[in-house]
């Protein structure tokens, strides 16, 4: 009975497995060991590989460690200093984020008297649902969780849920600054979401489909950034706004409203809410790469086999994020009303133009 189920599963996994010639000998060896073989098969099963390994959770974790370190290092470099170093000098302090994370993990998580206790604790965890769900729809070549022609629309829809949780977090905190921060988050939400969605729609028009495969395929010659530079620009700026990055770090604005919605979080819970923005940035950058930078189009090394596409996508994503990290040391924070004004006047206008370009180009292509 169990053997049958295992055999069925094995078949399912093997039928849709990642083909990586480089590690094929190891895989073959492991396949001979019972029980381990099913695990290996599971890992190499494409939907699982996409969601959990690459570009999914495992890489996300690695990425988090990397981006926190890289951002701090890059900022430090621009600021005439060295950044995290002594924690692991040979690797230039790369595990600084790990140390911080561990410290957070073992610190007391305070739920203060005035907070709405259940929501205060639940919401940071709930916030992961809209963050993690898009991963299932983001394909990387052959590695894909759920394949659907509406993947881009779905991703955008899930992303739109994140601010709701942040607003709820601010409400549950029951703090003046959290309150002001939540209101700012709500205002920002309406400010960036419209141009963002229009920019995405313009690209969908351009490619004629919400299917990432179509989008990537259509960019095999010219990347989307050149096809529709205005949408590219609008997407970039709204991405900064959506992930609360300077110069639009308005809902958190530590010097003004003391981290806004997250003011009362401590310990592990703060660790969770702190990485929200980074994770969101990761998802949005993946989308950005797929829409504008040709997705997983790029190099192809024979030994890597199916791993080429996820790796390529990942490298592009990391490069984009690393470049985006520089704005943190470049800009001051805009004011909320200025941002809203820019957004509702310029950004929406630009996104309309982008939409026009998308429609026209989509019609031509």
């Amino acid at each position: 009975m169990i053997d049958e189920i295992l055999a069925t599963l094995m078949n399912v996994f093997r039928s849709n497995s990642m083909q990586i010639p480089l590690i094929q000998p190891i895989v073959d060896y492991l396949m001979q060991i019972p029980l381990i073989n099913i695990l290996v098969a599971l890992i190499l099963w494409r939907p699982f590989f996409a969601v959990v390994i690459m570009p999914g959770l495992a890489v996300l974790l690695l990425y988090l460690l990397y981006i926190v370190w890289f951002e701090r290092k890059l900022t430090a470099r621009i600021q005439w200093r060295v950044g995290p170093l002594e924690v692991a000098r040979p690797i230039r302090g790369a595990i600084q984020a790990l140390a911080d994370g561990l410290r957070y993990f073992f610190q007391e998580a305070i739920v203060h008297r005035d907070a709405h206790r259940p929501y205060f604790v639940q919401l940071p965890i709930l916030a992961f649902i809209p963050i993690l769900l898009p991963i299932a729809f983001i394909p990387a070549g052959n590695a894909v969780g759920i394949k659907t022609p509406y993947a881009i629309q779905l991703i955008v829809a899930f992303l739109a849920l994140i601010p709701i949780t942040i607003i709820a977090i601010g409400w549950a905190s029951n703090n003046r600054f959290a309150f002001v921060g939540s209101v700012r988050e709500a205002l920002m939400y309406v400010a960036y979401e419209i141009p963002f969605i229009i920019a995405v729609i313009s690209m969908i028009y351009l490619y004629g489909s919400g299917d990432p495969y179509v989008a990537v395929e259509k960019q095999s010659l010219v990347p989307g950034a050149i096809l529709n530079p205005i949408a590219f620009l609008v997407f970039l700026i709204t991405m900064l706004m959506a992930t609360s990055r300077l110069p639009f770090e308005i809902p958190e604005a530590d010097q003004e409203i003391a981290f806004g919605p997250f003011v009362e979080y401590s310990g592990m819970l703060f660790g969770l809410v702190m990485v929200l923005a980074y994770e969101k940035l990761y998802i949005m950058t993946l989308l950005f790469v797929i829409l504008f930078l040709g997705g997983w189009n790029g190099f192809y090394f024979e030994p890597l086999g199916d791993l080429n596409a996820p790796l390529c996508l990942f490298i592009k994503t990391v490069v984009v994020i690393s470049i985006i990290a520089i704005v943190r040391s470049m800009y001051a924070r805009y004011r909320i009303d200025q941002t809203l004004r820019y957004s509702f006047s310029w950004l929406i206008a630009f996104s309309m133009v982008a939409l026009g370009i998308g429609v026209v180009l989509g019609w031509i292509l």
Binding site: Q79, W80, Q255, E256, R333, R335, I336
Partner: protein, 407 residues
């Protein structure tokens, strides 16, 4: 836009009673009745110094700000009455340690004016260099704080990097990075070697070069301009009425600088410009100080190139300070009377009043009015009608430093 009143019975939160607010209880209730919101900024707040601002907002617009100072009130005036005249020198520099030379200078000049001590030329030039170094240091400090208040961390790091050079210059000249206590009645504590002066001379150019980087990345940064321009405007009349001082007064178009109207030390012997602006907004206040930094660099260079030879301490007091310090300075007695000196500290007019009874070797009363305390009123007024987010921008544009105001 029509205002819609929501009739919800709102009670002021309990915590307002326990926080020891220096405002009456009915003010709090009134605020809540009128659908306003009280936000307490500070003293433990990433965007405030050591003070609390009680901000009353309607929506996002600030209605009124009540300062709650005194978090760094260290009883300086009382202590000064209980110390020897000379022992007060370290004390009076503590309000603003980054501006120690100017504070020191103001106090020492009050003693000198009382005792009619003629300061040698060389000492005057050395004092001027110290004062200007501290002025640059303070302006950079304020710029850094402004930067971090509007969220620009690089703008915070660069000035502090440049300040390292200033600290090094002060350390080489006086032996301390901040609180030099170097200016004493009659001159300075020690002569400064030619080598050190050359170093400082070269350092001014190094500072200038780095300031160019700072200008590109922060001063002329579009986000900086967006945040500071047209906020916290003080018109010329308002600035005069509320007694604003220093660069903040000059930013509103008043050409008042104590170094011009009542010259002291070597300021008459060097050429420099008084920097003013017309706008009176946050950016003008910032730019005035930025421009003053380059003026100060010029003053330092002129002082070093035309540094006269001679004594570093007046012969009326002693030949050499080393070893004589207690004997020559420990027993100063000022003739009876009141002596007031005005000094242009980095943040504005600094006033020292020493009242002596003519017999004691401790002052009878020392009144220290620091620039921060003088422009606090103007600062509070300029906040009215601005947005909550501008609070920090205006705070930074004033460079308000609570230890200086509270003494």
């Amino acid at each position: 836009m029509e205002e819609i009143k929501i009739e919800v019975p709102v009670e002021p939160p309990k915590e307002l009673e326990t926080l020891f607010l220096p405002i009456p209880k009915d003010y709090v209730e009134d605020t809540y009745r009128k659908d306003d919101f009280l936000i307490l900024v500070g003293p433990q707040h990433p965007g405030s110094g050591h003070m609390r601002l009680i901000v009353r907002v309607k929506g996002d617009i600030i209605q009124e700000v009540i300062p709650d100072p005194g978090y760094v009130h260290r009883s300086m005036e009382k202590l000064a009455e209980n110390r020897l005249y000379i022992q007060n020198i370290p004390l009076v520099e503590r309000p603003a340690i980054m501006d120690s030379a100017n504070f020191n200078l103001g106090y020492v000049r009050a003693i000198e004016s009382a005792m009619d001590i003629e300061v040698p030329e060389r000492a005057k030039f050395l004092r001027t260099i110290l004062a200007e170094l501290c002025r640059i240091g303070t302006h950079l400090y304020d710029a850094a704080i402004l930067a971090v208040f509007i969220g620009h961390t690089t703008g915070f790091m660069y000035p502090f990097g440049i300040r390292e050079l200033i600290c090094e210059a002060l350390a080489r000249m006086t032996g301390a990075r901040f609180t030099s206590s170097f200016i004493i009645p009659g001159g300075v504590r020690r002569d400064v070697e030619e080598k050190t002066l050359r170093w400082v001379y070269d350092a001014t150019f190094a500072i200038e070069k780095r300031l160019k980087s700072f200008e590109r990345i922060f001063i002329k940064n579009p986000t900086t301009i967006a945040r500071l321009r047209d906020v916290g405007v003080l018109s010329k009349e308002e600035a005069i009425r509320f007694g604003v001082v220093g660069p903040f007064l000059r930013a509103s178009g008043v050409e008042y600088d104590t170094r011009i109207v009542e010259p002291y030390e070597a300021y008459e012997e060097v050429t420099w410009d008084i920097v003013t602006a017309d706008e009176g907004d946050g950016y003008a206040r910032f730019l005035v100080r930025v421009n003053e930094v380059s003026q100060s660099l010029g003053i330092i260079r002129q002082c070093i190139t035309s540094m006269p030879e001679g004594r570093y301490v007046s012969e009326q007091i002693c030949d050499d300070v080393k070893g004589n310090f207690f004997d020559k300075f420990g027993n100063l007695v000022l003739p009876a009377g009141e002596y007031t000196t005005l000094t242009e500290a980095a943040r504005g007019t600094l006033l020292f009043t020493i009242v002596s009874d003519g017999e004691s070797n401790v002052p009878y009363r020392v009144r220290i009015v620091t620039p921060g305390w003088l422009y606090l009123r103007g600062f509070m007024e300029s906040l009215k009608g601005e947005r909550l987010a501008d609070l920090q921008a205006i705070y930074g544009s004033f460079g308000y430093f609570p230890p200086e105001a509270d003494r």
